[in-house]
Symmetry: C2
Subunit: 441 residues, 2 copies
């Protein structure tokens, strides 16, 4: 545990040093469990989201994308069951009035306030809703209350008929979305794992109720395949099935994809059979028909079942970062490497002149310019020893480093160093872009 | 005005019909001035944001991207001046208690409540803050108040030192960000033009204070160039300089880029000289030094000036949609065309079998599969007459329609119809992908 705790601390430190993740509003002491993505972090997360969108929307004919707003009609959350049921039990200290989760071990076992130390501090637990609420319009009244969505899924359910009609899809088909959601967690933590503001990558697949088991198995396999395509080690991944008492109110079956984080096996994606719960509730609450009419046999009408795949973009990014982090002994020194899959790495190639003279910087800059023209993210760096520049890029996760040296000026070749194997190959300058492109997919 | 009003109505209708934009929570009667992007809308907006990110971040060495959270430390908004100054004057009707902007002509001139008709209805205006507020943590107290950010810019200012250090940039350099912001507008409207939830594409460029005029001119020209690259007609664009009494509290100079919308010339992007206002205020409020130290001459220390380019992603998307919408007489019928620039169009090519027999569907499907493998968004459609299928794609903005016909089965050629010129070319099947790729850039 000590060693694993170290790993998280080291990762947090690397993320700040190399510009992956910063604490939000750090200059003001930070905002509770909210994080900002820096220059490299934003690119890593973009690459993950892009890979997800490509595999879920662009590479398929049966899934449509949407982008629904965060602010929705408050009735949505009555229909979905969130107003009534999306709650945690809280207790309040009778002395200092701070509140805690009633099921937190220190609170439940000792009955002593962990902040002010009062014993026998708590009364009966009170249910506390996890949705952030705000007021829309000029008057702060109950009628003006709106919520920050606690999940993106409802934006898909309420748009079901509009998407169906405009896209002319037929069942089975899905709707995919990437977007922010908010939960007023009482005990957030573990870096970006549990945060109050987070981004989801969700897909709801609408099917005939008789076919739910078959499609559930299909999506379970598909999603694991995608997670493995991110380069995460398979032995660090497992499925965890929700037992009947763990199931959410809308779910018939639920499997989590878990990663073995330093703080234990934890979920970063779920596959859920939501049945017809959501569409049925929205039909009831809105008075609008949300049935599907089979276009071939119009007497076949039904409310579709939904198989949902719900991934946390921040948690997936964290799993990728944790899995990529390693320390190695090289020539008697420890090097820190972020062994990101090349297609996810923010920078694909670093270009260095060995020394800052003899025309080397000019050649290196030209190679860097060539990458930019081909939209391959690269970086030019001429400062510090070559060893130091390699180390910097190892930490940044850059898979290839290209060095212009004395020989370059003679035969137009450069060395390309592989971040993981440390092998160096000599490659002709006019082959460099092809070489990198082939390997960063 | 009547005709132009019609244009907006027609566009709203097309956007729903073709899956560009839906009213948020429509089945519940809608959420006040909030909109959802449908299957085509999400792709159009993604293409616009992607084009912005490429030109601002990926194609330059001097700009770093970030993605800061929506929820920030509340002190940020004291430092920025938003808690005190981001307000509108409101009046309340003494009879029905509804509130209105005091500067609205009907209210200011008649003094009569536009809802209940009471005359002499209003007292003195009260200042109303436009930030949405919510409570973080379990207790709804003043200490727990946080705001939904009303602009993305502050996420960049508070991360200035972290980005500078981790990226090793030197002044002049910029930080770019795309993200949601929220303003509790009293009178939102004009479709997606003024909404309470919106997405910004902002870049803050940090410079030496002596160079502000020069960089201001540079960014003014650069931004117009990018806007024109979206295919918007130049005669529909103009700059509008803020007069001294229109300038925001932080601005020394400000130019809007305006588009001639059906509801009049209106701003969708601004270029602002924010001076050192924000960094100076954050230095004061946080107690952290936000000076830049010249790495060559370390005695040169200063708080940088900021030239900001701030674009609305939704407004830019709306300008693109309005500008692309046209109706034409073709063979005695009116056709509706969304003449989107090919690089922005959600679908690049539609593939049709002329009839649903003689092997044509199989060939057409194979061409469609070929596009998908090359990550070129395409659609396969075999339903309805060929004329009807063309019209559907004209409305969807698809620049090319490929038809497999009788001749295809003889000589492996297809027709490619150009959405704008209506010309048809015969092209060999194995040239089709190259033909389209060349034209959708």
């Amino acid at each position: 545990m000590g060693k694993d705790g170290d790993l998280m601390e080291k990762l947090v430190s690397l993320c700040k040093r190399r510009g992956y993740i910063f604490q939000s509003s750090e200059i003001y002491g930070g905002t509770g469990s909210v994080w900002d993505y820096g220059p490299l972090g934003v690119e890593l997360k973009r690459n993950i989201k892009e890979s997800w969108w490509r595999s879920m929307v662009h590479e398929r004919d049966d899934i449509e994308g949407i982008d629904a707003a965060i602010l929705m009609h408050p009735r949505v959350w009555e229909a979905s069951g969130h107003v009534e049921g999306f709650t945690d039990p809280l207790v309040e200290c009778k002395n200092c009035h701070r509140r805690f989760r009633a099921d937190e071990p220190t609170v439940a076992e000792t009955g002593q306030c962990p902040v002010c130390g009062t014993s026998d501090a708590f009364g009966e637990p009170r249910m506390f809703n996890l949705m952030f609420k705000t007021f829309m319009g000029a008057v702060e009244s109950q009628a003006a209350v709106v919520y920050l969505r606690p999940e993106t899924a409802q934006g898909i359910f309420v748009n079901f008929q509009n998407v169906l009609t405009s896209s002319r899809q037929r069942i089975p088909f899905g709707i995919a979305q990437i977007g922010k959601a908010f939960r007023n967690e009482i005990t957030p933590g573990n870096f970006t794992f549990r945060t109050r503001e987070f981004e989801q990558m969700e897909m709801q697949y609408f099917i005939h109720p008789d076919e739910d088991d078959e499609w559930f198995e299909y999506w379970k396999a598909k999603r694991l395949e995608w997670v493995e395509s991110l380069g995460i080690r398979p032995e660090k991944l497992r499925f965890n099935e929700h037992s009947p008492d763990e199931l959410a109110h809308y779910a018939k079956t639920a499997f989590d994809i878990e990663y073995e984080f330093p703080f234990g096996w934890s979920e970063f994606e779920g596959i859920h059979n939501r049945t017809d719960y959501d569409l049925r509730r929205h039909q009831e609450f809105s008075g609008k028909r949300l049935e599907y009419i089979d276009p071939v046999d119009r007497s076949k009408r039904y409310i579709p079942y939904v198989i949902e795949t719900s991934a946390g973009a921040d948690r997936t990014t964290l799993a990728v970062l944790v899995d990529a982090y390693r320390e190695e002994e090289v020539e008697g020194e420890t090097r820190v490497v972020l062994g990101l899959a090349p297609h996810l790495a923010p920078i694909k190639a670093a270009v260095f002149p060995l020394v800052r003279k003899d025309g080397m910087p000019e050649i290196a800059r030209k190679i860097h310019e060539g990458f930019r023209k081909e939209a391959i993210p690269s970086i030019y760096d001429e400062s510090g020893s070559i060893g130091r520049r390699y180390r910097r890029q190892d930490e940044a996760g850059t898979p290839f480093a290209i060095t212009v040296d004395g020989q370059t000026t003679e035969d137009d070749t450069v060395t390309i160093r592989n971040r993981d194997t440390l092998e160096q190959e000599r490659v002709a300058i006019d082959q460099v872009i092809g070489y990198i492109r082939e390997r960063v997919g």
